[in-house]
């Protein structure tokens, strides 16, 4: 088990917004975290990154371990070593994930250097990672606003690859992209899992995307996991009423739907 969450409770003041008994992620697994806005999906991911405080929330109890190392209430200096190198996170708006003042190459190389790579190692890792996500090396000469949404998301993923992250937290990574570009990003995530054994926590409100990509799915509502299981099982024959309601709400395109 690369990532283990136990009895995690997150509070906004007195209000409990996340209450997860147990959630596990294995190496080489894509786990979907599905649910509507406000269900606690993103807050869970932020807790894993040790970033709850940035949104004014607080982990009130529980444990999150990555590779058997406890993350909850660690000092920032310790977390900094884990963020990026062991866990990487990508976001919905990929262009705004990069500082617009810098060329992406600078951001890339600096991140790798901060995690201990030498200058030449950093360049070599960047080159390999860009190849893996199928971007040309000269992409690093561009500034964030010169990238398309799909290119920026590929770059964000390439950074995780370059840092050899074992866990990728992907928070609605394709929700802002065109459907054909979305397909490419999903293929890329699948390939990283297959080739590098990356573990992926895939947050999405789009159940069809979860059904196509994820091995397992946890459906969240009001901070709790209301249903968990193999995504084919959960999304085709949900046992929980709320999951069924979600599945039924998805507009279906199938020729048989007429």
């Amino acid at each position: 088990m690369i990532l283990e969450i136990r009895n995690l409770a997150i509070n906004f003041g007195a209000r409990c917004v996340v209450d997860i008994e147990a959630l596990d992620l294995r190496t080489g697994e894509i786990l979907g975290l599905a649910g509507e806005s406000g269900s606690g999906k993103t807050m869970t991911a932020l807790a894993i990154m040790g970033l709850t405080a940035t949104s004014g929330a607080r982990i009130s109890s529980g444990s999150i371990t990555v590779d058997d190392r406890e993350l909850v209430h660690q000092r920032d200096t310790d977390l900094r070593r884990i963020r990026g190198s062991q866990i990487a996170m990508i976001f919905q708006a990929p262009v705004s994930s990069f500082n617009p003042l810098f060329k992406v190459g600078y951001i890339f190389i600096r991140s790798l250097r901060l995690h201990g790579a030498s200058r030449s190692e950093a360049r070599a890792h960047a080159r390999e990672a860009l190849e893996e996500v199928m971007l040309p090396y000269d992409m690093l000469e561009r500034r964030p606003y010169e990238l398309s949404g799909g290119q920026a998301q590929r770059l964000a993923i390439a950074l995780a690859v370059a840092l050899r992250s074992q866990v990728l937290l992907a928070d609605e990574p394709t929700s802002a992209l065109d459907v054909s570009v979305q397909g490419e990003i999903l293929d890329l995530i699948r390939r990283l899992r297959d080739r590098d054994g990356m573990a992926v926590l895939f947050i999405s409100h789009d159940l069809a995307v979860v059904a196509e990509l994820c091995d397992q799915v946890a459906v969240m509502r009001a901070g709790r996991i209301v249903e968990f299981g193999a995504s084919s099982q959960v999304l085709h024959s949900p046992t929980n009423d709320y999951t069924r309601q979600l599945v039924d709400s998805v507009p279906k395109l199938g020729t048989r739907a007429g």
Binding site: S180, V181, L207, L246
Partner: protein
């Protein structure tokens, strides 16, 4: 079928950038839905704004009931503005945060002198109820409502002036899926009850299938395929439409198909490729495609496509469906 709104060969430029290049669409009198799909930057929203006279046309014309909308002045223009309404994606930014939602609806009624002053309040309440809100929701501010409720207010405000054509620009993209389902039901109810015609802009093909009899697929400012939504979604004939269609994720395993992918080449809209605009990405492109821009031609009843190689593309699509997992 009489045409209510006729868009004829319109061209819209932003400086040197030609965002819409010779697009024609016919919207018959309602109840009727026309879907506009295509990737970001393909010109969907620009066409809708051009059709509503919110953007100047460089060429072409838009006719409502056979009258050129560019010539409307004074009371004719006011009447045109009333006949066409638009609902945007983000209901949070289309409502004034300092205006109570009842007042926002009331303002539309007053501007277009829809009802006598004495009946304003009761009409506002009626409209709130019609879109599924409480008649007592009028005094609330937008921030006190959820995203779905706000979108209902925006729809109520549009419906207040009894429009004949509605433009719905990604009306549910910012909403949760259960809320989306309810808004889609509201739209289809309103369309029947008010014999409404609408242009629905959406990146979600399933939403288009559900709400639109016809659809047009756009690529770099041109219509590349149009016709009955059912025909296009069952048998897309343009290679680009096939990419879109096969990229749609499906919950139902049985509906899943092999994704047709094409290289994503950054295309500069300011200098689109010669010949067919899709040819640099098209796996079926031949010499003809590089030289001659294809025009729309009928390949089936109610199904037109702008592709020299549509027949080959159709065959290939059928094969890809057969080999799907």
């Amino acid at each position: 079928m009489t045409t209510l709104l006729q868009v004829r060969d319109i061209v819209i430029d932003f400086g040197g950038l030609r965002a819409v290049d010779g697009v024609s669409l016919d919207v018959p009198a309602g109840p009727f839905g026309m879907g506009l799909v295509g990737e970001s930057g393909s010109g969907k929203s620009t066409i809708a704004r051009g059709a509503l006279r919110l953007l100047p046309l460089s060429r072409g014309s838009v006719m409502l009931d056979g009258k050129d909308v560019r010539h409307f002045r004074g009371s004719d223009l006011r009447c045109f503005r009333r006949s066409v309404q638009i609902v945007f994606q983000d209901p949070g930014s289309t409502l004034d945060p300092r205006m109570r939602v009842g007042a926002a609806i009331r303002e539309a009624l007053v501007v277009h002198r829809m009802v006598p002053a004495g009946e304003l309040e009761s009409r506002v309440e009626e409209l709130l109820v019609e879109v599924g809100l409480e008649s007592s929701d009028g005094p609330r501010f937008p921030h006190q409502l959820s995203g779905g409720q706000r979108q209902r207010v925006v729809i109520a405000r549009a419906m207040a002036v009894e429009p004949r054509v509605l433009v719905l620009d990604e009306p549910t993209s910012a909403l949760d899926v259960t809320v989306q389902a309810r808004i889609l039901r509201l739209i289809s109810r309103l369309r029947e009850e008010h014999r409404l015609a609408y242009l629905l802009i959406s990146h979600n093909l399933a939403v288009v299938q559900q709400l639109c009899e016809q659809m047009a697929v756009l690529y770099l400012g041109k219509v590349i395929e149009r016709g009955s939504s059912r025909a296009i979604l069952e048998q897309p004939a343009h290679p680009y439409t096939q990419v879109l269609r096969s990229s749609v994720p499906e919950i139902d395993l049985a509906e899943r198909r092999a994704r047709i992918s094409v290289p994503s080449i950054a295309v500069d809209a300011a200098g689109p490729p010669e010949g067919c605009r899709f040819h640099p990405r098209c796996p079926l492109a031949v010499e003809e495609c590089r030289r001659i821009p294809p025009s729309l031609r009928e390949i089936d009843r109610l199904h037109e496509v702008a592709c020299h190689r549509a027949e080959e593309a159709c065959e290939r699509f059928v094969e890809s469906v057969d080999t799907a997992v």
